[in-house]
Structures are given as structure tokens and as C-alpha cells.
Subunit: 221 residues, 2 copies
DNA sequence: CGCCTATTCTAACGAATCTTAGAATACCGT
DNA sequence: ACGGTATTCTAAGATTCGTTAGAATAGGCG
């Protein structure tokens, strides 16, 4: 094999990965799958795409071997192919944040005052949780909590927050976490909690980041 | 701004990075730029593309803010936009190697017996260099050596190796390094050296990896 | 100032990709 | 075996991308 042909086929392979993350919808799908496995229909709902379209994008991700599938009864569940895929995804997002001023501009615009919610790092959250002087709430949809969450966290999906607020002790500080650095659930949750007299802060990252950091996780219930 | 529009514009930004690395030729360009800044013409030669084509790909990379430019006299020099771009590139390649069996297959096929060349890790190389019991040679083209190299390494481009072999002491072990894990220069160099009675091994990674590890670098001469 | 060189910009064509409708598949429950 | 459900496969139109020719630009040099 001549030198040039070798390089061509090598870089062609690497480009398969790149192609996987070259579409906004596919990155969003990967971000969702970082929460745990999901059916095609669920992914279609959560990305606001028709099922057929979702299926087509998932096929591209499968060809790039970034996701894998499992069949259960009549449904097919997708999941990230490995923890490294998640880390790569976050590297991509971090690079985007570093290089593209638009990322900062867009998030500032939508999450005006996000920084005023006194973000807590995961390390800090872990310490506070060990000290036992804080209530940690997981504000993601219930199925994602069940697929995996921070041990000791209470599941209060943001949609149920107003109704279930009385379950949360008012004395202690509350820390809300959700899907990741750009997820709005914890922002919404903390805003609502503060309006109702709670001392609340948000975690600067989400559950997948916690798991990727090698910290203990709980599942089920 | 509604929730969905926010997500769309956010993921659209991240996809700009993904789109930058979705083409084999663009990944190859980034890999070359990891060696140091280069002119468009040089990049065109080294990727075996017409200049116009190279320029078009570089434009895409510039739009993704993965590269930056500098003008010197009549030439325009491209470079990676930051060290993090290099790390992202290597993460992409590592993920490719993990996920895509074809990467291993292609490299094994072309670099048959690459593993028999007893690869040395950079940490090991550094120790051996400090102990002073080894000759380290940089077998990349001269301009890349001049743009940055491992301190103490001797520049012996693989094209000049046969002619200049007598400059290398035969008693001591020789370690050859080049552009990176998939670069063939060091493989070729070690093969030639061994055929001529040298005790030679190759570094498992290249100069950009050395620099990214925060180790000392030299330039010029 | 005008020519020379390196590079980019504009434009156009073919190839690849996205989206989505309709048909096909695979497995469950009965 | 049969019908139902979730999903994929096939195919086609619309869009984007890759490639490359020709014109334009920017700066150095005589």
C-alpha cells in the first residue's frame, strides 16, 4: 500500500467520528443519551424531531460507532457506546465554548443571570453532601433519575417542582442539578425555589459529568 | 427566546466544531499544523491536494475557529488556534482507535510489525534522555524540527538518514520520534537503522504530544 | 507606480446529506 | 398463525458540500 493511500484510509476513519458530531441534532441526541439509554420515540420527542428523522440520525451515529442498541420487547434502546464517547462530547462542547464567542453569547442571552445562581462545582457538592448540611435535588425527568443519579439526591422533576415544593426542607440550602452545563432545568428550578423563599443554588455540571468523574452513582427507585 | 430555539442555536454552534473535523483532509491538515505553522502551499504539498482545494478546506477550519492565520511577506501562515485544539484532535483519534476496528486494521496492514519496533513512551524517552545513555533523533522534515523539537534531539530527516547515518554513534541505543502515533517516519527510520546494525527503537507518540504534555521544548538552529 | 507571487473569493457542477413519505421488518401478545 | 407496534429500510426531492476553474486581492519589490 502506498504511503498516500494509507493516510487517506486512516483519516477517512477518523472523519467518521467527526461526521457523527457534525450535525446539531446528532450532538443533541448524544447529549440526551449521556443521561442513560432511551427509546427512539423518547429521543424524537425530546429533540422535537419526527421519529423517522431521529432514526436516520441515529443510524449515522451507529455507523460512526458512537452509539449502540439493545432490544427490549418491541422497543429499541440506544445508549452511548462507551464512557469515552461522553468525554469526547464534553471536550467538543468545551472547545466550542473556548473558541466560539457565540456559545457564550447565546447562553448569556437565554440564561440571563445564570451566574447569579451561585453555581456549585461537583466537588463542592460532594463535600456538602457528605457533611449532610444540604438538600440535593435531581430536577431531570423521572426516567433519567431512575437510570442513574447522585446517591442521596431527591427526584423532583422541574415539572413537578411547584406542586411538591413542600417536601423540601426550608431550613437547609438546596442544590439542584440536571443534565449538564447547558441544561436549563436547574436554572428554572433554582429561580422558582428562590422566588419561594428557599436558599437555592445550582450545580455547574450535570449527572453524566458526575459519573464521568468516577464518583459513586445510584440507580432505580 | 423559547427553549427550543435556545437549544437549536447552542447545538448549531457545537456542530461548527464537528463540521470542521468531518472531512479526512481537514483532519490531516490539523495534524500537520500540530507540528507548527505552515504556508498554504506547504500544506497543499504535504496533503497531496491542489492549492485551491487546500485553501477551501482551510477556510472551513477558520470558520470553525480551529485555526488562525498570520501574514508574513507574501505568504499566509496557518496555525492551530490553541493547544486545546490539538488535544481535541488527539481525543478524536483516540476515540477513533477505540471505536473503529478499521483504524487498527489499516495501521497493522501498512505498518506491519510496527509493534516489533519496541515503542518507547515519551515518559520513558525523557528519563533515558536525562540519564544521557541514548541518542534521540527527530526524523521529521527540517522546518518542523526548527519550529520546535525535543531538547537534545538531533535533526535527521528520514530522507537524509542513509546519507548521514555515520553521524550517529553506533554504541548507544537510538530512539527516533516524528509527528505522532500514526506517522510513518520513525517506523521507516528505525527499520533502516536496524538493517544497518544499530540498536534502534521508536517513540510511540510525536513532538506535538510531547509539547502537549507540558515538557520542555527547544526551537530554531 | 505597476508587475509578481501567494492566496482568497466567486461561481458552477457533481456528489453527498438531510428530510420525510411509503413499504418492509422484527418481535410481542393473543 | 395473525394483528399490532416500534423501528428501519428504500427512495426521491431539496439542500449542502467538495472540487476546481477564473477573477480578484493584498502585499513585496523593482
Amino acid at each position: 500500500m502506498p504511503h498516500r493511500a494509507f493516510k487517506n484510509s486512516l483519516y477517512e476513519q477518523f472523519a467518521r467520528i467527526g461526521h457523527g458530531v457534525s450535525s446539531p441534532k446528532r450532538i443533541e441526541l448524544l447529549d440526551l443519551l449521556a443521561q442513560g439509554e432511551k427509546k427512539v420515540e423518547t429521543l424524537a420527542e425530546q429533540t422535537a424531531m419526527p421519529v423517522k428523522n431521529t432514526s436516520a440520525h441515529l443510524r449515522v451515529l451507529r455507523q460512526a460507532r458512537l452509539v449502540e442498541t439493545r432490544r427490549d420487547a418491541s422497543s429499541i434502546y440506544y445508549r452511548l457506546a462507551s464512557e469515552r464517547v461522553f468525554r469526547f462530547l464534553r471536550d467538543l462542547e468545551t472547545l466550542g465554548r473556548e473558541r466560539l464567542a457565540e456559545v457564550e453569547r447565546v447562553t448569556q442571552q437565554y440564561l440571563a443571570g445564570r451566574d447569579s445562581l451561585e453555581p456549585v462545582t461537583l466537588t463542592e457538592l460532594r463535600k456538602r453532601l457528605r457533611d449532610g448540611d444540604v438538600t440535593v435535588i435531581d430536577v431531570r425527568p423521572r426516567p433519567e433519575y431512575e437510570a442513574g443519579h447522585i446517591p442521596g439526591a431527591l427526584s423532583v422533576p422541574v415539572a413537578e417542582l411547584k406542586r411538591r415544593m413542600k417536601e423540601i426542607p426550608k431550613k437547609r440550602e438546596v442544590i439542584a442539578y440536571c443534565r449538564g452545563p447547558y441544561c436549563v432545568y436547574s436554572v428554572d428550578a433554582v429561580t422558582v425555589l428562590r422566588r419561594n423563599g428557599f436558599r437555592a443554588r445550582r450545580a455547574d455540571k450535570g449527572f453524566p459529568d458526575w459519573r464521568a468523574a468516577g464518583l459513586a452513582v445510584a440507580a432505580g427507585e
